[in-house]
Symmetry: C2
Subunit: 308 residues, 2 copies
């Protein structure tokens, strides 16, 4: 059966990178394998960033080698912050590069030390790397598309203008609008995606990446779905946390999004029962900041039945 | 300024009743007073039920005496399960009775040992008590309007037929449709409220009572608001838990709903800063099952700044 919505699992990148304690490559691969067994067909497994910037991602090469040997196949995505990262990725087995920069110039300068023009120039180079490769596809993620931790609300017109500039450079790329701070409101999500959908040829190019920091993630997923978005970034067990408030919720939990869609009869291709194995593995990661309502509920049910 | 949405605080009833350890009357009154200071204009302070059924509500009389002496005024609501409870309420200072029964007959039999016909007959008696009183208004809450813990999904047509029967008996009452299990889906919420709104004279009669057990509460509040619902039951600190899974989330958190509306510029009349006092008091209640995203975020921020 064809799935009606596509979930892109990002815990192994956006989740793991927030953990200070080093996660072993084999622990990473065990979670990735469990996610694939649960039916996730798109998994962002790590990033080609400087180990000086994010030490947790230093084992991306052995992670990719391990992924290539897994019995389950899925689209293997790696984040690249620049042309150099993209070039490194060509030497490994992966299917899609995720080039990230920020709609907020302040955040972009802070995060990757580039102006927006410089990031667009970098995108052109990443796009060339992808064009020269036979097997790579591209995704571009616009961080802080709604709200910036430094400068607050991001103007929708500004985000859409940048979105169009990205499309002009990479017309076939997937495009993700990211609520990095979790402060996007469902009304703003609906409105921005309606306008973004009007700019692109294929709705399936568009992805919503959201965080549950303020408890709005599922409402935001619902709002985006209602206007036609069909692809969502999610992280098993709500893995990720919030860099601005340790202990707070991070990425929207994969199992919560699966529950949201499947309970309305909308197929995600993900098996909630099999997903529990990946959740259990995530819970064993030392220093993991986890979230998610379904996980809490299931844990409570288990404790209640153990008490009884 | 007139508020655009009305929040009805239910922690002192729906929240407290789930706590096994007895909460002292003065602790109850301290939270009620803090809620009133934060701007909550409608507070359900307890219920006239048999202390054998719910021992936590045995001090309803002293609670009402205490409420009458608070400097802040608000609409004081008490739950009554039957005519006898309503009669008892007339001897105390309160403004509104909340008569509750279940849309699911199985749940109703289990909860109040009555068939739906018997509950409608009881409603007629409660309605008479209210009509004979000069100061009492009525609210009727239909528990399990969407979903029943025993029999699963409740047919919308059945709920609406019952809703109409309630309206025929009590045309001026407020009517709450309650998602008791937290399993209502935003699509179902939207649809049921659209149809309920078509049956009533004044939209302000209609109330949505929801639980966050599966993480859908804010999405459900958003869905109900979009079709025109303007009154919502909420519980400070997500006080309440889930009787089917101890430790799981209970009522939707007042502060989460305040954040949801106020961040979109929709006024609730509640002061989030002052609400923190009530949250802190709730956190001190022994045995309290709390939830809510904003509370978790604020606690994480406090811990992060204490570490720094």
């Amino acid at each position: 059966m064809e799935t009606e919505v596509t979930l892109i699992e990002v815990a192994p990148r956006d989740g793991f990178q927030s953990v200070k304690e080093m996660i072993t490559t084999s622990d990473k691969l065990a979670i990735i394998a469990a996610l694939a067994r649960a039916g996730l067909q798109h998994i962002e497994v790590g990033s080609f960033v400087s180990p000086k910037a994010i030490a947790q991602m230093a084992d991306i090469a052995p992670v990719l080698q391990g992924v290539a040997q897994l019995p389950q196949s899925f689209e293997c995505i790696v984040l690249v912050p620049n042309r150099r990262g993209a070039q490194l990725a060509t030497e490994h087995v992966c299917q899609r590069l995720n080039f990230v920069f920020s709609a907020s110039e302040t955040h972009n300068l802070n995060n990757v030390n580039k102006t927006l023009s410089q990031s667009l120039a970098e995108l052109r180079q990443v796009q060339s790397v992808v064009e020269r490769s036979e097997r790579l596809s591209l995704r571009v993620s616009l961080a802080t598309s709604f709200d910036c931790p430094f400068s607050g609300k991001v103007n929708a017109q500004h985000t859409l203008a940048l979105f169009q500039q990205v499309l002009d450079i990479s017309p076939d790329a997937q495009l993700a609008l990211c609520d990095t701070t979790g402060r996007a409101h469902p009304f703003a999500v609906r409105s921005l995606f309606e306008r973004a959908l009007a700019l692109i040829a294929k709705p399936e190019q568009l992805i919503f990446h959201c965080h549950d920091t303020y408890g709005l993630a599922i409402a935001n997923v619902a709002a985006a779905f209602e206007v036609g978005v069909r692809s969502f970034d999610t992280a098993v067990a709500g893995f990720g946390g919030c860099p601005f408030a340790p202990g707070a919720s991070g990425n929207v939990a994969t199992e919560d999004v699966v529950y949201f869609f499947e309970s309305a009869g909308i197929s995600t291709g993900v098996d909630s029962e099999k997903l529990k194995e990946a959740i259990a593995l995530a819970e064993q990661i030392k220093g993991a900041q986890l979230g998610g309502s379904i996980r809490l509920l299931n844990r409570s049910k288990r404790e209640a039945s153990a008490d009884a």
